[in-house]
C-alpha cells in the first residue's frame, strides 16, 4: 500500500519532469491583487509574495528537481562505474591513483564541496549538475571497484579471458551484469540525495536563478513570510519530502528484494 503510494508519487514526479513544458503553466505571471493569498477553492495552493500561483511554481519546480536528478545520477554513475571498474580490473598505478583520489574526495563533507563548487562556478542549473556530479561519482567508483576486485578472479572471467575475449567485452558482458544490483540500489538512494542537494543549493541561492522555480528557492522565499503566509514554506517542503521519502522507500524495498547487505 505504502509502496504503491511511493511509486505513484515518483511516477507523477517523473511525468511532470518530462512533460511540464507541455502544460499550460504560468509560474512567472504575477497577479498583484493575489499577493500572499492563502489556498482557496479556486487556487488550491495559494499565491506567493509576488502574486505568482504556487501550484504552477510547484509543478515547474518538479521539473527542475527531476531534470537535475536525472542528469546528475546519469553522469556520476556512468563516470564513477567506468573509472572504478577500469581501475580495479587493470590494477597497477591506475588503481592506486584512483584509491588516493577517492580518499581525498571523501575527506570533504559531501554537500560542503558541492556548495563550494557551485559557489565558485556561479549559479545556474548547468553548474548545479556539474557541482553535484563532481561530488557524486565517487560513491559509484568506490562501489564498482570493490565489486570488480571480488569478481575478477571468478572462473567465468578467467574462462572468457582464456577464450581470447578483450577487456571491454569482459567488463561489459561478464562483470557489469553481476555488479548491477548494488549499483542500481546506490543510484536509487543517489536520486534522493541529489533531490535534497539541488533544493539545498537553491535554498542557499546557489542553484537555479529567479524567476525559475525550484522547491529549494521556494522554501527560502517562504521563510521570509512564515507568519503571514505559512503555505509558502509548507507547499514546496511537503512536495520535496514526499518525493525523497518515496525514493527512500523504493530503495529500501529494492535492497531487501535484491538481498544486498547494507554497508
Amino acid at each position: 500500500m505504502l509502496y504503491r503510494l511511493a511509486i505513484s508519487v515518483l511516477l507523477l514526479w517523473a511525468l511532470l519532469g518530462l512533460f511540464a513544458p507541455l502544460l499550460p503553466l504560468q509560474p512567472n505571471v504575477m497577479e498583484l491583487e493575489s499577493i500572499l493569498q492563502p489556498p482557496t477553492a479556486s487556487s488550491w495552493l495559494g499565491y506567493d509574495d509576488l502574486g505568482r500561483p504556487l501550484m504552477d511554481r510547484l509543478l515547474a519546480g518538479a521539473q527542475t528537481s527531476f531534470r537535475v536528478a536525472l542528469w546528475v545520477v546519469l553522469v556520476s554513475s556512468l563516470l564513477g562505474t567506468l573509472l572504478g571498474t577500469l581501475a580495479a580490473y587493470l590494477g597497477g598505478w591506475l588503481d592506486r591513483l584512483l584509491v588516493q583520489v577517492i580518499d581525498i574526495m571523501l575527506a570533504f563533507p559531501g554537500i560542503l564541496l558541492a556548495i563550494a563548487l557551485a559557489g565558485m562556478l556561479g549559479p545556474g542549473m548547468d553548474n548545479v549538475v556539474i557541482a553535484l556530479s563532481a561530488v557524486g561519482w565517487v560513491g559509484y567508483a568506490r562501489l564498482s571497484r570493490a565489486q570488480v576486485l571480488s569478481l575478477k578472479h571468478r572462473d567465468h572471467v578467467l574462462a572468457a579471458r582464456a577464450l581470447g575475449s578483450g577487456t571491454p567485452v569482459i567488463l561489459v558482458r561478464h562483470l557489469l551484469p553481476l555488479m548491477s544490483a548494488p549499483l542500481i540500489i546506490e543510484a536509487t538512494f543517489g536520486v534522493a540525495a541529489v533531490v535534497i542537494a539541488e533544493a539545498g543549493l537553491s535554498f542557499l541561492g546557489l542553484g537555479v536563478q529567479p524567476p525559475d522555480a525550484s522547491w529549494g528557492s521556494m522554501i527560502r522565499d517562504g521563510t521570509r513570510y512564515m507568519l503571514v503566509a505559512p503555505h509558502m514554506v509548507l507547499v514546496p517542503g511537503i512536495a520535496l519530502w514526499l518525493v525523497v521519502m518515496s525514493v527512500n522507500l523504493l530503495g529500501d524495498r529494492l535492497r531487501d528484494h535484491l538481498d544486498v547487505r547494507s554497508r
Binding site: Q100, V101, D103, I104, L106, A107, F108, P109, G110, I111, L112, L113, I115, A116, L117, G119, M120, L121, G122, A192, I196, A199, G200, F203, L204, G205, L206, G216, I219, R220, G222, T223, M226, L227, P230, V233, G237, L240, W241, V244, M245, N248, L249, D252, S262
Partner: protein
C-alpha cells in the same frame, strides 16, 4: 601498534595535502577573471593589479600552489577581501559556535537513536518497531533546510517557546540542534536496531541468559556493548554529513558559526575566505576520522594486525 600508527598518519598527511591542493584549485573554477568578479566592474585598474599581486594571481600556477601550501604550513591563511582582517582570526571567532552546534546535535541524536533502536529491536515487528522505523524513514527523508523553518514556525512563531534565530542561551540551541540532529538520529536508530538484532542471535547472549542474568542486564550490558561497535563506525562516517549539514542549519538560524561564514563569504565573493572555511571543515573531518580509527585500533587488535598482513 606503532607501525599501524605511522601508516595511518602518513595516509592522513597525503589526504590533507590532496585536500589542500583541491581547495587551492577551487578559485580556478571562477569563470572569467576572479579579480574582476571579486572587485566588480567599477574597480580601477590599479586596485585590480594590487589584488592580483596580493593573491599572487600573476604568478605561474605551480608557484601559486607552492605559496599557498607554504602559507598554510605557517598558519597564514591570508586576508579576507571583504573585512580586510586576517582569515585565521575570523575563523577562530566562529569555531566555538559550530562546535557547540555539532556537539549538541550529536548528543541529541544519540539520546534519541539508542533507546529507539533498542526498543525497535527488542519488540521486533511490534507497533513500537513500526513506529520507530517509520520515524527513521521520515527523519532520513526530511531536508534540514525545511525541518528548520518548520520548527521555527511551530515552536517560535506559533508557540513562542524558543527564539527564532541566534545562539544566545541554551533556549536558542534547541531548535538548531534538533534540526541538525534529526537526520543523524534516524540513520543511527536504524543501525542500532539491525546491529542489536544480529547480536541477540549470538551464543554469548544465550549463555548470559542461561546464567540467570536479568533481561535488562543481558540487553544493556552484554548486548548493547557489542552492538554499538558498528554504530560507532557509522557515526564516524556520518560526522561528515553532520558538518556539511551544519553549513545549511547555521544559515537557517543565523547561527554565528563557520557554516554561515562560508555562505556569507560565497555571497560576498570573498574567495580566499571560502577556501579557508572549506579547508577548515574538511580538516576537522579528516582529523576526527583519524582519531576514531586510532582509538578503534587500540581497542580492537584485529584492526591493526589485520591490515599489516
Amino acid at each position: 601498534m606503532l607501525r599501524y600508527l605511522i601508516r595511518r598518519l602518513a595516509g592522513a598527511l597525503v589526504v590533507i595535502l590532496g585536500v589542500s591542493c583541491l581547495v587551492f584549485l577551487l578559485i580556478q573554477l571562477v569563470p572569467g577573471d576572479p579579480v574582476e568578479v571579486m572587485l566588480g566592474e567599477s574597480a580601477s585598474s590599479a586596485d585590480r593589479a594590487a589584488l592580483r599581486e596580493q593573491l599572487g594571481l600573476n604568478q605561474p600556477l605551480l608557484v601559486q600552489l607552492w605559496q599557498y601550501l607554504s602559507g598554510l604550513a605557517r598558519g597564514d591563511l591570508g586576508i579576507s577581501l571583504f573585512s580586510q582582517r586576517p582569515i585565521g582570526e575570523l575563523l577562530l571567532e566562529r569555531i566555538p559556535a559550530t562546535l557547540l552546534l555539532t556537539v549538541t546535535a550529536l548528543g541529541f541524536a544519540l539520546l534519541l537513536a539508542v533507546p529507539l533502536g533498542v526498543l525497535a529491536a527488542l519488540r521486533k515487528d511490534s507497533l513500537w518497531d513500526t513506529g520507530a522505523m517509520g520515524f527513521a524513514l521520515l527523519g532520513v527523508s526530511i531536508p534540514n533546510f525545511w525541518l528548520g523553518p518548520l520548527l521555527i514556525l511551530l515552536f517560535s512563531l506559533w508557540l513562542g517557546w524558543f527564539p527564532v534565530s541566534g545562539a544566545e542561551g541554551p533556549g536558542a540551541w534547541v531548535l538548531p540542534a534538533l534540526t541538525l540532529g534529526t537526520g543523524l538520529a534516524a540513520i543511527l536508530s536504524r543501525m542500532v536496531r539491525s546491529s542489536l538484532l544480529e547480536v541477540l542471535q549470538e551464543d554469548y547472549m544465550r549463555t548470559a541468559r542461561a546464567k540467570g542474568l536479568s533481561p535488562t542486564r543481558v540487553v544493556w550490558v552484554h548486548g548493547l556493548r557489542n552492538a554499538l561497535l558498528p554504530v560507532i563506525t557509522l557515526l564516524g562516517l556520518q560526522l561528515g554529513a553532520l558538518l556539511g549539514g551544519a553549513v545549511i542549519t547555521e544559515t537557517v538560524f543565523s547561527w554565528p558559526g563557520i557554516g554561515s561564514l562560508t555562505i556569507e563569504a560565497i555571497q560576498r565573493r570573498d574567495y580566499p575566505l571560502v577556501q579557508a572555511c572549506v579547508l577548515l571543515i574538511s580538516l576537522a573531518y579528516v582529523l576526527v576520522n583519524l582519531a576514531t580509527d586510532l582509538v578503534y585500533a587500540w581497542i580492537d587488535p584485529r584492526i591493526r594486525l589485520g591490515e599489516g598482513s
